[in-house]
C-alpha cells in the first residue's frame, strides 16, 4: 500500500461554484489521511445525468474527454494512482456509466475517439473511484486513528441518495443495505442513525422548474431523519445538498412549523474531526447554519 495516494481528481462544475466548501474540505482533509488530489489540468462538465438510450453517443463524449486528460496525467507521471477520484455523486455516476459503456463496447469507443480526432484516443485505462471508496481502501480504522476531535454525541443521518447506490453495477456498496457512509460516520466519532430515507430520491433536477416535487420529497427525507433521531444529514451530492439544505427555505414557506436541520457535505465532518481550521470547513456555504448544533456539541 502506498503511503500517500496521489490521484487525478475530477471536481465537476458545481464544486467550483456553489459547493466550494465541499471541495476545500475534501482537499484539506485528504492531505491528513493520505490522499493527495491532483486536479485534472483540463476538464469539462460531465453532463450530470447519464444518457440512457442505446444510440445517444454524443452525450457520452463529455465523460470520455475527461478520461483522456486523466490518462495523460498518468503518462506524465503526475500521479501514482491512475484512477480518477470524484467527490460529486452525480459526476461519479455519470462518469462511471460512460466509462463502463465504452470499455464494454469497442465500436462506441471507436466512434467517440474518431469524433475527438483533435485529442489523443482514450485507451480505456482509467477507473473511477469515489472518495468514500478511497477512504474504505485506506481503512476507516486508520482514519479513526487520525481523528483529533471526535464528533461525540453527534447523531448523523447518512444520506446515500440515488447516484452512489444505483444502478447495481455503478454502486459503491450494497444497493439496498449499504453501510459505507455509516462506517465513515463512526470513524469520525459520530453516531450513525438507522433510517428509512437514506436512498430515497431528493427530487433531483426538478428543483429547476417543479419545486413542489422537491419540497415534498426533501421534507419527507428530513422529517424521516429527525424521527429517526438524527441531528444532521450528510451527503456527497451538491444537488442533493441544494435540495435538502437550500430548499428548506421553501419548505418553511409552505409549513411554518417545519423544524430545520443542518445538511453537511461528509467531508466537512471529516475536516472538523481532523481539527482543520474553519476556512477549510466552509460552514458559510451551508444554507441552514450548522454552527448552533456544532457549538452545542463543543465542536467549534
Amino acid at each position: 500500500m502506498k503511503d500517500n495516494i496521489k490521484i487525478p481528481y475530477f471536481p465537476g462544475c458545481t464544486l467550483k461554484t456553489t459547493a466550494k466548501n465541499f471541495e476545500i474540505s475534501a482537499i484539506e482533509a485528504g492531505k491528513k489521511i493520505g490522499i493527495e488530489m491532483v486536479e485534472l489540468p483540463k476538464w469539462n462538465c460531465c453532463g450530470v445525468v447519464s444518457s440512457l438510450t442505446s444510440d445517444d453517443l454524443m452525450k457520452h463524449m463529455a465523460p470520455i474527454r475527461n478520461f483522456v486528460h486523466a490518462e495523460e496525467m498518468g503518462e506524465q507521471g503526475l500521479v501514482n494512482d491512475k484512477r480518477m477520484l470524484i467527490l460529486c455523486s452525480m459526476c461519479f455516476n455519470t462518469m462511471k456509466s460512460s466509462n463502463k459503456r465504452v470499455k464494454g463496447n469497442s465500436e462506441d469507443m471507436k466512434s467517440i475517439n474518431d469524433f475527438m480526432y483533435l485529442e489523443k484516443d482514450y485507451e480505456g485505462t482509467v477507473d473511477v473511484v469515489h472518495y468514500f471508496e478511497l477512504m474504505k481502501e485506506i481503512g476507516f480504522d486508520k482514519i479513526a486513528e487520525k481523528i483529533t476531535k471526535p464528533l461525540k454525541d453527534l447523531k448523523i443521518a447518512s444520506y446515500y441518495g440515488c447516484m452512489l447506490l444505483r444502478p447495481k453495477d455503478i454502486a459503491i456498496d450494497d444497493t439496498e443495505a449499504p453501510t459505507i457512509i455509516e462506517d465513515f460516520v463512526s470513524s469520525v466519532g459520530a453516531e450513525p442513525i438507522a433510517w428509512d430515507a437514506m436512498s430515497r430520491c431528493c427530487g433531483s433536477y426538478h428543483t429547476v422548474n417543479n419545486t413542489d416535487i422537491v419540497v415534498n420529497l426533501a421534507k419527507g427525507i428530513i422529517e424521516n431523519a429527525r424521527k429517526s433521531g438524527a441531528e444532521a444529514i450528510i451527503t456527497s451530492c451538491p444537488l442533493c445538498a441544494f435540495n435538502l439544505d437550500n430548499r428548506q427555505k421553501l419548505i418553511l414557506e409552505k409549513d411554518p412549523n417545519f423544524k430545520t436541520m443542518p445538511v453537511f457535505y461528509f467531508t466537512q465532518l471529516l475536516a472538523i474531526a481532523l481539527g482543520l481550521e474553519e476556512e477549510f470547513i466552509g460552514l458559510d456555504g451551508n444554507y441552514i447554519d450548522p454552527r448552533p448544533l456544532l457549538k452545542e456539541k463543543n465542536l467549534i
Binding site: V49, T53, S54, R166, H206, V208, F242
Partner: protein, 134 residues
C-alpha cells in the same frame, strides 16, 4: 379461452422503436407493479411506471402524452428492484427522447429568472436541460 392481443401496425412499430431506443425487452414485463410500488415520484405521476410499461407493450402511443416520463428523474429505484431485470428508467428515457427528437422541449430554458439563476447550482440546470431539451 384466452384472447390473443394483436397490435396495430403503428403500435407494433412504436413498441419496436422504444425497445430499440431503451435496449429493454418491454414485453418481458410481468406487470407485478414493483416499479410503481417503489417509485418515490409515483404520487406526482398521472399514470404509474408499470402502466407505462403496459401501454408501451400494447403499442399505445398515447403514453407519450402522459406526464410520467417527465416526472421520472432516473433515480433507478425501479431499475434495481425489477424481478425481470428490466430497466424502467431506460424506457422512460426512450419515451422522453422520442418526444425530444421531434424538437419538442419540455422546459423553456429562458424561464429561469434572475433570482432563480442566483440560487440554482450549475448541476441542477445542466441536468434539467439534458433531460428536458432536445
Amino acid at each position: 379461452m384466452p384472447k390473443k392481443i394483436k397490435l396495430t401496425d403503428n403500435g407494433a412499430e412504436f413498441l419496436k422503436q422504444i425497445e430499440k431506443l431503451s435496449g429493454e425487452t418491454i414485453t418481458m414485463c410481468d406487470q407485478c407493479g414493483t416499479c410503481s410500488g417503489g417509485c418515490p415520484f409515483v404520487e406526482e405521476m398521472d399514470i404509474m411506471p408499470s402502466q407505462i410499461m403496459r401501454m408501451t407493450m400494447l403499442g399505445q402511443m398515447e403514453v407519450l402524452d402522459s406526464k410520467t416520463m417527465w416526472i421520472c428523474a432516473s433515480c433507478f429505484t425501479c431499475t434495481v428492484r425489477c424481478p425481470r431485470l428490466l430497466d424502467v428508467s431506460k424506457v422512460s428515457e426512450a419515451l422522453r427522447q422520442t418526444k425530444l427528437r421531434q424538437a419538442i422541449d419540455n422546459i423553456n430554458i429562458d424561464d429561469i429568472s434572475k433570482e432563480e439563476a442566483e440560487e440554482l447550482p450549475s448541476i441542477a440546470v445542466v441536468s434539467a436541460f439534458r433531460k428536458f431539451t432536445s
